[in-house]
């Protein structure tokens, strides 16, 4: 089937066979800016429809299923401890999964720590970290962008900002990879996946609880210390479960996304050597290049929501209770919004992309992501000598939403 009434298009998007190039599927979806899929999910792929739904108060971000520990056979755990944990988890979801007014209170407290001074203060450090990563590979003729730079850079940056010990990285790397699947629609109904996520959440929550206790005892100049000790005039001091949920969110979001921005970015530039050469010749182009990357190959392709009331939009009505997908990466290529949308053009004048989402949930870390991507891409453009893609397309990580290469092998003549 090729017409837009094909209710399996979004299932095809999620199929890993289409990970390398989902854009033709997006174009077919866009024929109906809001399209019902066979499983009852509504997928918004047109720019105007996404924008309207992003701002619509009838659209809720509270679409996680209730937390539920799988049975263990131990009655104390199954009847007392775990149900209590689930009850707490449900009431203290991270603010990405919360609606107003709770969302605003939690977000405001995070923004109070994510100050311009703190983020700008990381700029010099980020540039230093990029240089360190590159120096480590000096003399090599091969370079895996993911392992050698795009993953370690944002992890180190977010650890330092939050005040999470970098040496614990091996522990939370696995946790983060696991919990990032919460953004994928599969996590809503795949029982085994949900059980693993519950288990992982318990482990990372225990880790964070200890860390936060330490921060309260001896506060440092980092975001976790700030969140643990600050008092909001309206919300008061953040509760421990909220603090744990927030810390986990920031830790995961701080690197699972930026790694994609840097890797997709370099992949896009390597496919267009002229653009790479222009960036090398003129590093001042970096902000434009990055904004266009956020449109053209965004790190997060979609986010899910749920309709809290019937919503008339784009010639259809989304019924109450329907699961909803805001397909940002398709809106970013909507020809009704962006002239010649499939062309990568950093000189685009009007580029209001959904690369960081939008409205209330607009990415809290956007300024930090821009700094990291700029440091990484300008240094790569300047210092990699004659970089070529060793495989194109590269292998991708499983996520359809958090979409990016698992590795990006480059042949190089050296590092300058």
């Amino acid at each position: 089937m090729t017409d837009a009434s094909d209710g399996t298009l979004f299932a095809q998007v999620r199929d890993s066979a289409n990970r390398a190039d989902p854009y033709p599927l997006y174009a077919r979806l866009r024929v109906r800016p809001v399209a019902r899929q066979d499983d009852g999910t509504f997928v918004a792929s047109g720019y105007a429809a996404i924008r309207a739904l992003l701002h619509d108060p009838r659209v809720s971000s509270e679409d996680l299923p209730p937390a539920e520990h799988p049975p263990t056979g131990n009655p104390v755990k199954d009847w007392i401890v775990n149900p209590l944990k689930d009850w707490v988890t449900d009431r203290h979801r991270p603010f990405i999964f919360r609606d107003p007014p709770d969302h605003g209170l939690l977000r405001r407290q995070v923004m109070g720590q994510f100050t311009i001074a703190r983020v700008q203060g990381m700029k010099r450090r980020t540039e230093g970290l990029v240089a360190q990563c590159l120096e480590r590979c000096a003399g090599s003729r091969h370079f895996d962008l993911v392992d050698d730079l795009a993953y370690p850079l944002p992890v180190t940056v977010i650890c330092e900002l939050l005040g999470v010990p970098r040496e614990d990285e091996p522990r939370f790397h696995a946790w983060a990879t696991q919990l990032a699947t919460a953004l994928e629609p599969e996590s809503r109904h795949d029982e085994a996946l949900r059980a693993r996520n519950t288990e992982t959440f318990d482990a990372i929550a225990d880790y964070m609880r200890d860390l936060i206790r330490e921060k309260r005892r001896a506060p440092r100049d980092d975001m976790l210390s700030g969140l643990a000790t600050a008092k909001d005039p309206q919300a008061g001091r953040m509760s421990d479960p909220d603090l744990i949920a927030t810390a986990i969110l920031l830790l995961i979001a701080g690197h699972e996304t930026t790694v994609n921005l840097i890797t997709n970015g370099m992949l896009t530039l390597l496919r267009r050597p002229r653009e790479l050469a222009r960036l090398r010749a003129d590093p001042e182009r970096a902000p434009r290049v990055i904004e266009e990357l956020l449109r053209y190959e965004p790190p997060v392709h979609f986010r899910t929501r749920v309709a809290r009331a019937p919503i008339p939009v784009a010639g259809t009505v989304i019924p109450e209770g329907a699961p909803l997908v805001l397909l940002f990466a398709a809106g970013n290529r909507d020809p009704a919004r962006f002239p010649d949308p499939d062309r990568f053009d950093p000189d685009r004048a009007d580029n209001q992309h959904f690369g960081f989402g939008g409205a209330l949930h607009y990415c809290v870390g956007a300024p930090l992501a821009r700094i990291e991507a700029e440091a990484a891409l300008t240094a790569l453009a300047a210092r990699l000598s004659n970089p070529r893609l060793a495989e194109d397309p590269p292998p991708y990580r499983p996520g359809a939403s958090l979409r990016g290469p698992k590795r990006l092998l480059l042949h190089i003549d050296g590092i300058g």
Partner: protein, 425 residues
């Protein structure tokens, strides 16, 4: 049209953005901008805010891009008259500019205090231009004992906010029962009044100043009820008058309320026929709005100046049919007393208002205005990110109140908005 001569009368925001759009759409001919002020086009919104508080110098408000425009400038020269038949603009210095197309963007000026001798007393200010703001800022720097603001519209309220921030005593007088009543109604205006009072402003509502008194310098104001207010600095914030006087005798439909134009921004003659060579944009233009029953409206909105200037430019080059009717949704914002107020649509004629998200108690909310069961406008207070959701319902005239089952809110309860009747205005 690619060549020939286009003259833009009015070198502020609408004129500048119109001129830029002409170039962007390929106009390669002679482009002349005429402005009565000696300054390059500047941004007005900061004049009642950061310029008064001293955070931004009056001269630092020049609009970006002004220097890059390939155009001839006639600054500090008023347009005196228009010879429509001869396609010529007459300037105050005697120059006659022949044109193929003319864009009229002469804007508006502050409505002066009605008694000229009283308006001439030193210490009596208006606030519209950069020079007004510089002179008012200088007056404030002398630390007046009390500042009296006549009128609680947006300019009056923003000035009150900035001047209170300087720590000066401020009194605001307005005949309406609430500030911003004309634009937002007394329900939302009442909320703002509370913030004004909390900030220490002496707010006198339902009151009218009849005389300003003093010899040489203003000393006090006399109220209609016989009372007086001692003040040595007065800001007259009574709205604006469109700059159309210079068009007298040109045969165009123009008065204090604006220059009438059609959906393609073409100026209308006295018989209501569009002039194919003369266009209008910005504060001066009074045009039929398709979203509001083609009622003629004149908008003093920053966004309207930008969008309408560009729309007029496209119509000038490509013809009226190619551009269609100008249908930009009216929108504006204001910052005052720690409030960010944003508005979409026109509240005029609303018969109900409902708070649909947030609450005044929480300090942030979104109000929707309805007329005869349809959504016509929305206003956000410290909740700008909620506002774009209402663009669709306003354009579609969706049922009012439009949003039910919001994720964060019980169903809204509409109340009368408390807008003054047009007669009173």
């Amino acid at each position: 049209m690619r060549d020939g001569t286009i003259v833009v009368a009015g070198a502020s925001l609408a004129g500048l953005r119109g001129a830029e759009a002409l170039r962007a759409h390929g106009f390669a001919g002679r482009l002349i901008l005429v402005g009565d002020e000696p300054h390059l086009a500047y941004d007005r919104p900061p004049l009642s805010k950061h310029v008064l508080t001293g955070e931004v110098a009056p001269g630092a408000t020049t609009l970006p891009g002004v220097g890059a425009l390939e155009a001839e400038w006639r600054l500090g020269v008023k347009a005196l008259g228009l010879d429509r038949a001869g396609r010529t603009l007459l300037l105050a210095d005697g120059e006659r500019l022949a044109f193929d197309r003319l864009l009229i963007a002469t804007g508006a000026r502050a409505r002066p205090w009605p008694a000229p001798e009283e308006a001439r007393l030193s210490g009596v200010h208006t606030l519209r231009s950069r020079d007004d703001a510089a002179s008012l800022a200088a007056g404030l720097a002398a630390r007046p004992r009390r500042v009296l603001i006549l009128g609680a519209g947006f300019i009056g309220c923003e000035a009150a906010s900035s001047i209170r921030a300087l720590g000066l005593p401020v009194t605001v007088v307005d005949p309406e029962p609430a500030p911003l009543a004309q634009a937002l109604g007394s329900v939302i205006g009442g909320f703002v009044a509370g913030r004004m009072e909390a900030a220490g402003v002496d707010v006198r509502l339902g009151a009218r100043v009849t005389h300003l008194e003093g010899d040489r310098a203003v000393r006090r104001a006399r109220l209609a009820d016989g009372g007086t207010i001692e003040a040595d600095l007065v800001v007259v914030a009574l709205g604006a008058v469109r700059n159309t006087g210079w068009l007298a005798g040109a045969g165009l439909r123009a008065d204090e309320g604006g220059l009438s134009s059609d959906g393609a921004c073409r100026a209308l003659d006295e018989a209501g026929r569009p002039d194919e060579a003369i266009f209008a944009a910005g504060d001066v233009a009074r045009f039929p709005h398709p979203l509001y029953g083609h009622r003629p409206v004149a908008l003093e909105h920053w966004g309207n100046a930008v969008a309408q200037g560009a729309h007029a430019a496209r119509a000038m080059l490509h013809g009226a049919d190619a551009v269609g009717a100008y249908a930009e949704l009216p929108a504006f914002w204001s910052s005052q007393f720690g409030l960010n107020i944003k508005s979409l649509g026109l509240t005029e004629g609303a018969d109900a208002v409902a708070i649909v998200q947030g609450s005044p108690r929480a300090g942030r909310f979104l109000a929707v205005y309805g007329r005869a069961g349809r959504t016509i406008a929305a206003v956000s207070v410290n909740a700008g990110r909620w506002l774009p959701a209402y663009e669709g319902p306003i354009r579609d005239g969706a049922p009012f109140p439009p949003i039910t089952g919001g994720a964060d809110q019980p169903d809204p309860e509409p109340v009368p908005p408390g807008l003054p009747s047009r007669e009173a205005a």
